[in-house]
C-alpha cells in the first residue's frame, strides 16, 4: 500500500475561498477591488492549479503569470496571505485557514490583477551591474582548443550564487526598495557577488564600487533582510551583502 494513503485517511475536501485584488487598467472603467472565488480543494492543489481552474471555469477575465509552473523560471511571484511567494509551488493545503488572499507584488509595474512586470526591472538591473564576464581578451580564446581549467570548487561556488531566478521576491520583501525605487536590491547584489567570485571576470573591487558604492547600492541597505527570509532559492543574501560591504569599504 502507498504509505501516504495510510497517513491521510479519506476526509471531505475543503472549500477554499480566494480573495484576489483585481484591477485591469486596459479595461475601461475598471476600479481596484477585492473579488472572492470559491472552489473545492483537490489533492496536490497548488495556487497555480487553483487560479487556472478559477479562470477556466468561473472568471475568464482574471490575469496572472505562470510559465514553467515548476519553481524554476521566476514568473509567478505574488503576495500570498501577506508573504511574497512563488505561487506555482505553493500548495493550498499548506494553509490551515481555507481563506487565501492574493495580491500582486508591490514595487513592480502592475500589468493587471496579479501580473506585474518583473522582466523590465531585471533587464535594467542586468544592464546596471553589467551582468556579464568582463575580459577584453575573451573573444581571442580558441574554442577548438582545450578549455582553460577551473578549480571544481570555484565552479560550484559560482553556481551557488548564480541560482537566482530573478523572481523579484527579494525586492517585494525589501523595506529599502519601498522607500527608494532606484535601490538595487538583493538580486542585483547577488549578481555582483557572482561575478566578483568568478576568476574569468577581470573587474576589480574599484570597478564594482562604481556600481554599488552609493546609497542605491550595498551601503543603502537597511539590513531588514526580507530578502533572506523569503528567497525561494534560499540564497545567502545576508552573507553576500556583508561580503560586498567589507570588500567595497576597503577600496
Amino acid at each position: 500500500m502507498n504509505p501516504s494513503a495510510e497517513k491521510n485517511p479519506t476526509q471531505a475536501p475543503r472549500d477554499l475561498t480566494f480573495r484576489i485584488l483585481r484591477y485591469n487598467q486596459h479595461l475601461p472603467g475598471d476600479k481596484p477591488r477585492v473579488q472572492e472565488y470559491h472552489l473545492q480543494e483537490a489533492l496536490g492543489m497548488t495556487i497555480f492549479i487553483a487560479l487556472n481552474w478559477i479562470r477556466e471555469h468561473q472568471d475568464p477575465t482574471l490575469q496572472f503569470d505562470f510559465v514553467c509552473r515548476a519553481g524554476i523560471c521566476g514568473s509567478c511571484g505574488m503576495i500570498v496571505n501577506g508573504e511574497p511567494r512563488l505561487a506555482c509551488r505553493t500548495l493550498t493545503r499548506s494553509y490551515e485557514n481555507p481563506e487565501i488572499t492574493l495580491l500582486p507584488m508591490p514595487v513592480f509595474e502592475l500589468i493587471a490583477d496579479l501580473s506585474v512586470n518583473t522582466g523590465k526591472d531585471m533587464r535594467r538591473m542586468a544592464e546596471r551591474v553589467e551582468s556579464w564576464i568582463h575580459d577584453p581578451e575573451q573573444d581571442k580564446i580558441d574554442i577548438s582548443a582545450l578549455e582553460p581549467a577551473m578549480e571544481p570548487e570555484v565552479a560550484e561556488e559560482i553556481y551557488e550564487l548564480e541560482r537566482c531566478i530573478e523572481c523579484g521576491i527579494c525586492l517585494a520583501a525589501c523595506g529599502t526598495r519601498r522607500m527608494r525605487k532606484d535601490f538595487l536590491g538583493a538580486a542585483g547584489f547577488m549578481r555582483v557577488a557572482r561575478f566578483y567570485k568568478d576568476p574569468r571576470d577581470k573587474r576589480t573591487a574599484d570597478d564594482f564600487y562604481e556600481v554599488l558604492g552609493d546609497e542605491h547600492g550595498v551601503f543603502g541597505c537597511m539590513t531588514l533582510l526580507g530578502c533572506e527570509d523569503y528567497c525561494p532559492k534560499q540564497l545567502p543574501h545576508q552573507e553576500q551583502i556583508a561580503f560586498l560591504r567589507r570588500k567595497l569599504a576597503s577600496t
Binding site: 485591469n24 496536490g44 523560471c73 571544481p152 565552479a155
Partner: protein
C-alpha cells in the same frame, strides 16, 4: 501604423533564439528578439540533464570523439535524422560548450583522484587523472556509449540560459518582452517579418526584417500531460504553417518521458530508476519485470513509457482526480542517498506533492516531453517554402533527432544550431536587400486586426480553454504513446470537429490589453491545426520508428518509410493538412541503416542499405592510413561555416 525595421527578427528568446541573434549581431547586423516572456524565463531554463559534447575529459569519457557522438545520435534517431546535420552538430558541440565556458557558464569540473559512483546499482571507484583536473566533466546518460553529458550541478539549463542572455545584453540586443508573433508577413516566396501583438497593451505592430528566425520551442502543450512550460504551444510552427507555403517536418515524432509527477507534470529524473527505484501499480505490485524481464525499470525511455501505459490500460492504474497514475518508489534508496544525490527530486516532491520521497511513493505517469518535428529547414536552417525565413532549436525540424531525441542533445542543439544557422542568416542578410511596399504590411496588419475585432465582437460562442482542453485530451487519448489506425482515425475526426468549432470562439474579457482569454483564443485554432498535422501524419505513417509506435505496424519499414513527412496547410478553410514525403538518401549516409539494439530486430530493409554498407567499409579500409577525419570527409562531406571548421583538441589526443 506601427512598423519596426530590423535586419534580423528573432521570434523566441530561449537558448536557440538568443544564440542566433548573437551570431548576426556579432557580424555587425541589427537584431531584435520578440518573446512571450523575459528571455531568462524561457523553457530552456528547465533542462535538467545537461549538454552533450564529446570533450572526453573524464575517465568514463575517454576515447570519446565526434564519431562516437555521431553514431549515438543517428542510432538514437532510429535512422530518421538528417546525417549531414548530425555530423555538423557533433563537430561543433565541443566548440559550443567551450564558448559558453568563456561566456560564464560554471560547468562542473573534473576533480582529480578517486571518487565513488553508482554504475548498474553497484558502487565503484573511479580515479580521475591529474591532467584532467579542472576541465569540464560529464555524466552518464541513456543511449550514449561514453559519459558525455556536461552539466552544471543541478542547473544546467538555467546557467546556460543566463550566460546566453547576459551575452545578448552585453551585445545590446533588444528583447521585446511579452510580445507574440501572430502572423508572418510574406509575398510570393519571400518572408518579410511578422505581425506582433503586445500582450500588455494588445496593440499590433509590424516587424519588417531581411531575415526572420522562428525559435519558439516545441508543441508539448498540444497534450494534456506534458513536462513542457505553459508557453510551449508551437505557435511559431503555427504561424509558419498558416502561410500555406512552409512545410512542417515529421510532426508525428513526439517523445514521452516515463516519470513526470501527477498532477503537475513536472519531470523527475531518470536517475531515480538508474539508482534502483521501482515502478509499482495500484496493488503496490512491481510490474516491470513481467514485461521486460531483463532490463526491468531500466529499459529505454520509449519502452518503459509504453509498458506503463499498457499496465494502466489493464486497469492497474491508481485513480486520482487528475486521471490514472502509477507509483515511483525510491524509498529503498534511503534518506541519505536521496538527500545527497537526488536533491532536486526531493525538492519537487516537497513543494509540489507535499510528500517526503524517503518514506512515501511518488505518483508518476508517462508524459509528453519533446517535439522532434517542427518547421522543416534545410541544412542552413532556412525553411522550406519561404526565403528569408529560418528556424532553430526545438521549433525546427533541422532534423538532428529523427524519430527519437537522445537525452542531452536538445540544449546542445539549441546552441549549436544558433551558431551554425546564425552564420547562414548573417550571410543571407548580407546578400539581400529588402523590397517591400507598405501596402503589403498594411494588408497583413489589417487582416490580423480584423480577426481580433471579430473575436472581440462575438458575445455568444465557444470557450477557448474548453476547446483547448478537449484537444489536449484527444491528443493524449488518440495520438499518444501507442498508436493504431482505429484510434488515430477517430482522433482526426474529433480534431476536425474541434477546428470547426474554433471558428466560433467568443471572448468574455473585454479588456483591450492584458487579456489572457483573447491571447488563448488566437492560439487555439493554430494549435488544433498543428494537432491535426501530428495526428494525420501519425495515421499515414504505417510503421514504427523511434517514438512513433504503431500497434498495427510494429516493424520499422525502411523500404517504404525511410522518408520525412512534410505537412502543408494550403487553404485557411481546409480541415486537414496536405502531406508530402521527402526520402532520405541511403547512398549518402555515413552510417547506413542498422539495428538500434532494443527489443527484437524488426526491420524491413531498404534496397540500398547493403550496397552502401559495403561501400562504407571499403572507404574505411582504403583511407585507414589517413585517419578518421579523411574517412569522414570522403564518406559524407559537410559544409560548416569557416569559423567552425577547425578540428577539436582533446586531452592526450591533440587534434587527431
Amino acid at each position: 501604423m506601427n512598423i519596426i525595421y530590423t535586419d534580423h527578427l528573432v521570434i523566441g528568446g530561449g537558448l536557440a533564439g538568443l544564440r542566433t541573434a548573437i551570431a548576426t549581431k556579432e557580424r555587425g547586423q541589427d537584431a531584435i528578439i520578440v518573446s512571450l516572456v523575459p528571455a531568462k524565463r524561457s523553457h530552456s531554463a528547465a533542462a535538467q540533464g545537461g549538454m552533450q559534447a564529446s570533450l572526453g575529459n573524464s575517465l568514463m569519457g575517454e576515447g570519446d570523439d565526434e564519431d562516437v557522438h555521431f553514431g549515438d545520435t543517428v542510432r538514437g534517431s532510429d535512422w530518421g535524422c538528417d546525417q549531414k546535420v548530425a555530423r555538423m552538430f557533433v563537430n561543433t558541440a565541443p566548440k559550443a560548450i567551450r564558448q559558453l565556458a568563456v561566456w560564464g557558464v560554471p560547468w562542473s569540473r573534473v576533480q582529480a583522484g578517486p571518487r565513488h559512483a553508482v554504475i548498474n546499482a553497484q558502487t565503484v571507484t573511479l580515479t580521475e587523472k591529474i591532467e584532467a583536473h579542472g576541465l569540464i566533466t560529464a555524466r552518464d546518460f541513456g543511449g550514449t556509449k561514453k559519459w558525455r553529458t556536461c552539466y552544471t550541478s543541478d542547473g544546467t539549463g538555467h546557467t546556460m540560459l543566463y550566460a546566453m542572455d547576459n551575452r545578448a545584453i552585453q551585445d545590446k540586443i533588444p528583447v521585446h518582452e511579452r510580445q507574440e508573433a501572430i502572423a508572418l508577413i510574406h509575398e510570393g516566396d519571400v518572408c518579410f517579418g511578422a505581425i506582433v501583438r503586445d500582450l500588455i497593451t494588445g496593440k499590433l505592430s509590424a516587424y519588417v526584417a531581411k531575415a526572420t528566425t522562428i525559435a519558439t520551442g516545441g508543441y508539448g502543450r498540444l497534450y494534456s500531460t506534458t513536462t513542457n512550460a505553459l508557453i510551449c504551444k508551437g505557435t511559431g510552427a503555427g504561424i509558419a504553417l498558416d502561410t500555406g507555403k512552409v512545410a512542417l517536418g515529421n510532426m508525428e515524432a513526439v517523445q514521452f518521458h516515463p516519470t513526470a509527477i501527477v498532477p503537475a507534470g513536472i519531470l523527475v529524473t531518470e536517475g531515480c530508476r538508474g539508482d534502483g527505484g521501482l515502478l509499482r501499480d495500484v496493488d503496490g505490485y512491481r510490474f516491470m519485470p513481467d514485461y521486460e524481464p531483463e532490463k526491468k525499470e531500466l529499459a529505454s525511455r520509449d519502452v518503459v513509457s509504453r509498458r506503463m501505459t499498457e499496465h494502466i490500460r489493464k486497469g492497474k492504474g491508481v485513480a486520482s482526480p487528475y486521471g490514472y497514475h502509477l507509483w515511483l518508489d525510491i524509498t529503498n534508496l534511503g534518506r541519505e542517498h536521496i538527500e545527497k544525490n537526488l536533491r532536486e527530486v526531493k525538492d519537487i516532491c516537497e513543494y509540489f506533492l507535499g510528500i517526503d520521497p524517503a518514506v512515501e511513493w511518488i505518483p508518476v505517469r508517462p508524459t509528453q516531453h519533446y517535439s522532434m518535428g517542427g518547421v522543416r529547414t534545410d541544412e542552413n536552417g532556412m525553411a522550406y517554402g519561404l526565403k528569408g525565413l529560418f528556424a532553430v532549436g526545438e521549433a525546427a525540424c533541422w532534423d538532428l533527432h529523427g524519430f527519437n531525441r537522445l537525452g542531452g542533445n536538445s540544449v546542445a542543439e539549441t546552441v549549436v544550431a544558433g551558431m551554425i544557422v546564425g552564420e547562414r542568416v548573417a550571410d543571407y542578410i548580407e546578400a539581400h536587400q529588402i523590397d517591400i511596399g507598405t501596402q503589403l504590411v498594411q494588408r497583413f496588419l489589417k487582416q490580423e486586426q480584423e480577426a481580433i475585432n471579430r473575436l472581440m465582437a462575438r458575445d455568444q460562442g465557444e470557450n477557448a480553454w474548453e476547446l483547448r482542453n478537449q484537444m489536449q485530451e484527444v491528443m493524449m487519448e488518440h495520438v499518444g504513446i501507442f498508436r493504431n489506425a482505429k484510434d488515430l482515425e477517430a482522433g482526426v475526426e474529433k480534431l476536425k470537429a474541434l477546428l470547426v468549432r474554433s471558428q466560433k470562439i467568443a471572448i468574455k474579457t473585454k479588456a483591450t490589453g492584458a487579456n489572457a482569454e483573447l491571447t488563448e483564443a488566437l492560439r487555439v485554432p493554430k494549435m488544433i491545426r498543428l494537432a491535426l498535422c501530428v495526428a494525420y501524419g501519425a495515421l499515414q505513417r504505417t510503421e514504427s520508428r523511434g517514438a512513433h509506435a504503431r500497434e498495427d505496424f510494429p516493424a520499422r519499414d525502411d523500404a517504404n518509410w525511410l522518408k520525412r513527412t512534410l505537412a502543408y496547410w494550403k487553404n485557411p478553410g481546409d480541415l486537414l493538412p496536405q502531406l508530402k514525403y521527402e526520402p532520405l538518401n541511403v547512398k549518402e549516409m555515413e552510417l547506413p541503416p542498422g539495428f538500434r539494439g532494443y527489443g527484437k530486430a524488426n526491420i524491413v530493409e531498404h534496397p540500398d542499405t547493403a550496397a552502401r554498407l559495403a561501400e562504407v567499409e571499403q572507404v574505411k579500409a582504403e583511407l585507414k592510413e589517413q585517419g578518421r577525419h579523411a574517412i569522414q570527409a570522403k564518406l559524407m562531406p559537410v559544409d560548416l561555416p569557416l569559423r567552425y571548421q577547425d578540428t577539436n583538441e582533446r586531452l592526450f589526443r591533440g587534434r587527431t
